[in-house]
């Protein structure tokens, strides 16, 4: 035994003693290099420990116990990182390097030991909380890299599945060698997680491969990376010679892989691809007829015998199988059988010189036939694919630069080249290229062009399922929902097992608003493909869209239980909780989603939205600003920020934010309307009208702008014009309740309250939707105006009891306060107000109104001067209420309050009703 081996022996004995004594401190010291032999400067402490573990006899128990002992050390690091983060930055500087080296060694050891649940928990805990620890990033981030590998190797459950997939899916990461390493690590993370031999065990790997393909396909070295990934797949799950086991496992998936991935796989495992017809000898017409009449699987089997030169097997197959399952030639069975035997002789001539008689007549065929047996010309498919991939990348680059003309020329050249290729299956490949190009141009918004390419692809290969699917998808994207539906139905009829088409059909039905049909289709898809995650989510989505929020929530929860890493379901659940008004639960779910998928922009946006809805406007604003900082291009967050500013009454800031959003996203309809809204709120009614008119001119189908215009006309007192605009809107969007409510209000203002009430008949159903409740609310207000206060009170009480969404509940409560003020019942009104927040303008106005009615001058003046100070935050409706109260109760002067006459009271109530109806 040499000195180095002896040194490792000593380390091994040391480890055994340490484990015997449960001496974790000793392990910590060892990982810091203390007490280890000086074997070499480039051998890390963890490497020495690993070497010592591996010297014979290998003892798996020892390794397991070491894994168990390593867990608390990792956990300790997590805590230490947490503490460090809490301290000021300067105090951290000292131990960076040592931390980094220790962490590296700790994770290196963890990566090598057998899997241990407590160790994985500890690593995961560190990963979640300490991923930005300074020690990880030092020395080229080697500790971070090692942490990733330790996480991968130690996985005892699938909680990281979403993370690996997320890394594979990230299209925004900079393309460099670190990224490529990360991709390969993430791929191994999935490989190490899966047991492909289980039922559907290959599904996660299939998702991972497709994600990897989409990320790398157009990148330099993308082909090599895919090849490497597939190679690792084979290494991770070694199977029999020729990888037959693996081939069997992946063939069903392989069939639908994108071309580059598919071809890369078949270049590694030729057995995946059915032997091409090129391996067949040319056949005389009589035998060709026999060949064509065979079923595809029979052709494939025969070709397998031909390509392996297994004459014996081939003859046996023809004589024992095909002779009893004769092809349909329209000939007597005996004649058909004779021709089959001729085919057999043609394929496997028994002896040289004995030529089958059917072929003697045509010696030319023989020569051609022999040529057919010559070794196949091997095309370097890998190189060809890489070239194709680069050509498509060049086209994409041109499109990205806006150089459509050059992109079109490049594509035309590429297609021409493919048409000229001397391959027997060139049309098949051409169709695939066209489909792929269609995907690219579609990605750049050229939907018509994509449609044209896909139609060409289908002409080149009418059996190209991908092109047919793509065409349906592009039609859907073009908004040609009827055509898309027809295409999907056509695809389903042709390829009844096409899950994508079935999903697409359901999606298009959903998009057409045929929610019942969509639901049926989704349910149908789920019944057929019980593991169809997309359909299960689609169903949940459609239930949500139908307002079946309880069912939707149940479906999302069910999906999450089945696919715990399903981000879409988790997001959907949060959304549905938000829609149900379960804002606390929604907030928790969003926060949970953000913790699990830190890059989930939608969850971050959802959280901000829910905070906004809960009225936590400061927190919402902070969350929106945070989102904007992380995703500077997040239009939704920018819009949300503007909205929350508007709601907070920060009208100047809101206007600035909307203008900023419009400048950045000139096509942002929401921002344009938001700007008009904020102008209206600021009382800049002329500017608001102009903005709405501008918006209507740009987006003639914009319901919000059309209603906004009507609202602003009403606010300007142009009641006739406003009524006309509302009526116009109702004609176009008969189901728009906001318009109907607006019209009702304008009619009310014109004194036609009864007409207005006709627009809003009292709903008698037991189950009321949100919209029904809004109608109910407006009707109650009209009844207040008519003086039918008892009816109004009943409606408001009823609505308040049913409404679940907090916003709606507040509407009813405010209206009850308004009613009580109208009835001069200021005690009751103030009691209600006492339980409500004191930072909401409308409530402050009601408080002012109540205090003035109660002749509590000091309180009234305090509220008045606060509102004056907040004047900038008051929208025009609120300001009008303040003005009317100020006039009615003589708040301008300082010589006591006056009692308003009936006209002044009516003006106050009118303004309050406007304010409520605008809320």
């Amino acid at each position: 035994m040499n000195p180095v081996e002896l040194a490792y022996q000593r380390v091994r004995l040391d480890l055994e003693a340490m484990l015997q004594q449960h001496d974790a401190d000793r392990l910590r010291d060892m990982l810091r290099g203390e007490g280890l032999p000086a074997i070499g400067s480039d051998i890390e402490p963890a490497e020495q420990i690993i070497q010592a573990l591996e010297i014979p006899p290998f003892n798996a128990n020892l390794a397991r116990r070491l894994a168990h002992m390593t867990a608390p050390l990792v956990d300790e690091q997590r805590q230490s990182v947490q503490q460090q983060r809490a301290k000021p930055a300067a105090s951290e500087a000292l131990s960076y390097w040592h931390d980094s080296r220790f962490l590296f060694n700790l994770f290196l050891l963890a990566a090598t030991l057998p899997r241990e649940e407590s160790l994985f928990d500890a690593l995961n805990g560190f990963f979640e909380q300490g991923h930005n620890a300074t020690g990880l990033a030092n020395q080229g981030g080697r500790a971070a890299l090692q942490l990733r590998r330790a996480l991968c190797n130690q996985q005892t459950d699938d909680r990281l599945h979403g993370y690996w997939l997320d890394r594979l899916n990230d299209h925004t990461a900079k393309w460099n060698s670190e990224r490529r390493t990360e991709l390969m690590d993430a791929w191994r993370g999935l490989l190490w997680l899966t047991q492909p031999s289980d039922d559907n065990g290959f599904d996660p790997l299939n998702h991972g491969l497709l994600a990897l393909h989409d990320t790398v396909a157009e990148q330099p070295q993308g082909f090599a990376l895919l090849k490497h990934a597939l190679h690792r797949l084979e290494q991770a799950f070694p199977t029999s010679v020729g990888s037959r086991g693996l081939i069997q496992l992946i063939r069903p998936y392989w069939e639908s892989w994108p071309q580059l991935l598919k071809e890369t796989a078949s270049s590694l495992w030729p057995g995946l691809e059915p032997k091409p017809l090129a391996a067949m000898p040319a056949l005389p017409p009589e035998l060709n007829q026999v060949w064509q009449a065979l079923k595809p699987e029979q052709q494939r089997t025969l070709l397998a015998f031909v390509s392996t030169a297994d004459a014996e097997g081939g003859r046996r197959y023809i004589e024992q199988e095909l002779s009893f399952d004769l092809p349909e030639l329209g000939l007597p069975p005996q004649e058909t059988r004779r021709r089959l035997l001729d085919l057999e002789q043609r394929l496997w001539a028994p002896e040289a010189g004995v030529k089958p008689k059917t072929l003697e007549s045509d010696p030319v065929d023989w020569e051609r036939g022999d040529a057919g047996f010559a070794p196949r010309v091997r095309v370097d498919r890998g190189a060809a694919l890489e070239a194709l991939s680069h050509a498509l990348a060049a086209i994409e680059q041109r499109l990205a630069r806006g150089d459509e003309a050059k992109a079109r020329r490049f594509l035309a050249d590429l297609i021409e080249q493919q048409r000229q290729q001397p391959l027997p299956d060139k049309l098949v490949h051409l169709a695939k290229t066209l489909s792929k190009a269609a995907g690219i141009v579609q990605g750049h918004g050229y939907l018509d062009w994509a449609e044209q390419l896909l139609r060409e692809a289908m002409a080149a290969n009418p059996n190209d399922e991908v092109a047919a699917s793509g065409l349906a998808d592009v039609l859907k994207a073009q908004g040609e929902l009827v055509a898309a539906e027809a295409q999907y139905r056509d695809n389903i009829a042709r390829w009844p097992n096409d899950e994508v088409a079935a999903s697409g059909l359901a999606d298009v039905l959903k998009a057409r608003g045929e929610l019942v049909a969509a639901e049926a289709q989704y349910r149908n898809n789920i019944a057929r493909w019980s593991n169809d995650e997309v359909a299960a989510n689609g169903l949940a989505d459609v239930l949500k869209a139908r307002g079946e929020l309880v069912a939707a929530e149940a479906q999302y929860r069910d999906n999450i239980a089945r696919w715990p890493n399903d981000e879409v379901a988790a997001s959907g659940l949060a959304d549905v909780l938000k829609a149900r008004g379960e804002l606390v639960a929604a907030e928790a779910q969003y926060r949970n989603n953000i913790a699990r998928w830190p890059n989930n922009e939608v969850a971050a946006s959802g959280l901000a939205d829910v905070l906004k809805t809960r009225g936590e406007l400061v927190a919402a604003e902070a969350q929106y600003r945070d989102n904007i900082a992380r995703w500077p291009n997040n239009e939704v967050a920018a819009s949300g920020l503007a909205d929350v500013l508007k709601t907070r009454g920060e009208l100047v800031a809101a206007e600035a934010q909307y203008r900023d959003n419009i400048a950045r996203w000139p096509n942002n309809e929401v921002a344009a309307n938001g700007l008009a809204d904020v102008l209206k709120a600021r009382g800049e009614l002329v500017a608001a009208e102009a903005q709405y008119r501008d918006n209507i001119a740009r987006w003639p189908n914009d319901e919000v702008a059309a209603n906004g215009l009507a609202d602003v006309l009403k606010a300007q007192g142009e009641l006739v014009a406003a009524e006309a605009q509302y009526r116009n809107n109702i004609a176009r969007w008969p189901n728009n309740r906001v318009t109907r409510n607006g019209l009702a209000n304008v009619l009310r203002k014109q004194g036609c309250v009864t007409d207005a009430l006709h627009l809003l008949p009292e709903p008698h159903m037991t189950q009321l939707t949100q919209h029904d409740l809004y109608d109910l609310h407006v009707r109650a207000i009209l009844l207040i105006d008519l003086g039918r206060v008892d009816e109004a009170h009943n409606l408001l009480e009823r609505g308040s009891a049913i409404a679940q969404a907090p916003l709606l509940q507040k509407c009813f409560e405010r209206s009850l306060i308004m009613l009580e003020l109208r009835l001069n019942n200021h005690h009751s009104a103030r009691k209600r107000l006492a339980a409500m927040p004191d930072n909401v303008i409308s409530l402050q106005l009601f408080r002012l109104h109540a205090a003035a009615v109660a002749a509590e001058e000091a309180e009234a003046r305090r509220l008045y001067s606060n509102l004056q100070a907040d004047l900038l935050r008051l929208d025009s409706d609120s300001r009008r209420v303040l003005d009317r109260i100020e006039e009615g109760f003589c708040l301008m002067g300082e010589s006591g309050l006056c009692t308003p006459d009936q006209e002044a009271l009516d003006a106050i109530f009118d303004a309050e009703i406007d304010m409520e109806l605008a809320a």
Partner: protein, 349 residues
Amino acid sequence: MEQINKHPYIFDRRRHSHPWESSLRRLQSDNHPENTALAQNWRMDHRVSEHREDELSTSDIFPNPRNPTTDFSRAIRDYFQIRLCIPAGTDGSTAPTYTIEANRHNRIAREQISPNQPLVHMVSLNAVLPRILHDFDTQDALHRLTGEYPPEPEDLTIAHVETIAGTLQARGEDAIREFAGLLSDQLGPTEPHWWAAFAFELDDYLLDDDWTKASRVLGLGHLRQGQWLIAWRYSPELAGPLYRPTVAEVGLNGHHFPSPPGENLGITMPLEATLPAVKEVVHAPLKGDISVEACMGRLGRIAQPLITTHTTRQTEWLALRREKHAAQLREHYEQQAVGNWLTRHGLNR
């Protein structure tokens, strides 16, 4: 030293002369077909590096200029016993030679095989029982497990093994696992390395208790009909370092066939052409609790003849099987290097 003309390869390296040539040639021309195959394997196994060859040459076991006539099959057996099954480890003795630096290139990278691709190892009770029965404690433990004292090793018959296996099976999984632990303990540090294949490829053949097909797939031609087998199923992470096997680890089993160049695992030569050749590795035996835990808790029997031959004489069967296997390798790998290697060693299509 003899000039080499007719069979110029040892470990797939062409030689002008070699101290083993004469002995190897005698082994090859032996009438016993397994010896011929054995010699062929030592000639063609490219997996044995020059360093490993040096280690073999300097072991004083194989023919050398001082003992040029050493019997090669005896040398193989001695090497297996002395250099692979000797006590090894913390007492300062030499480690099994497949784990030494000279065989490093056959080590399978730690991060190559998924921990979720379990391995299966099988052992013949008929072969292993005689090795442990000399010990009183073992006899006592077997009495406890089966209710009967086993015979002395030299008196052990197939019928005894039948009885022991039958009783263990009747007592259930725990008894079988306990027996696995007993085997492991009693074989102790002299237990040879384990040969293991991947469960994914064997599970289908282990569904009932007739393990004939599994044995055929694994190429266990040295076993016989009627023998009983015990098996372990475990994650590769518990096996420690995995190695691609070479002829040096095979011992006297002529049913081995080296895996081709470029293949970084071993490949079995199934005993029947219709069965797939599967990948295999060698590693240190599982010991202690892990051996008990990983035992499948079932026994299987080789219920049918392992080798069935109708058309050829038994003596020719192995040569034909090797040729067919070579043809299969050639076809499946579709690589020039594999074709050339087989051609070099006379295994033309």
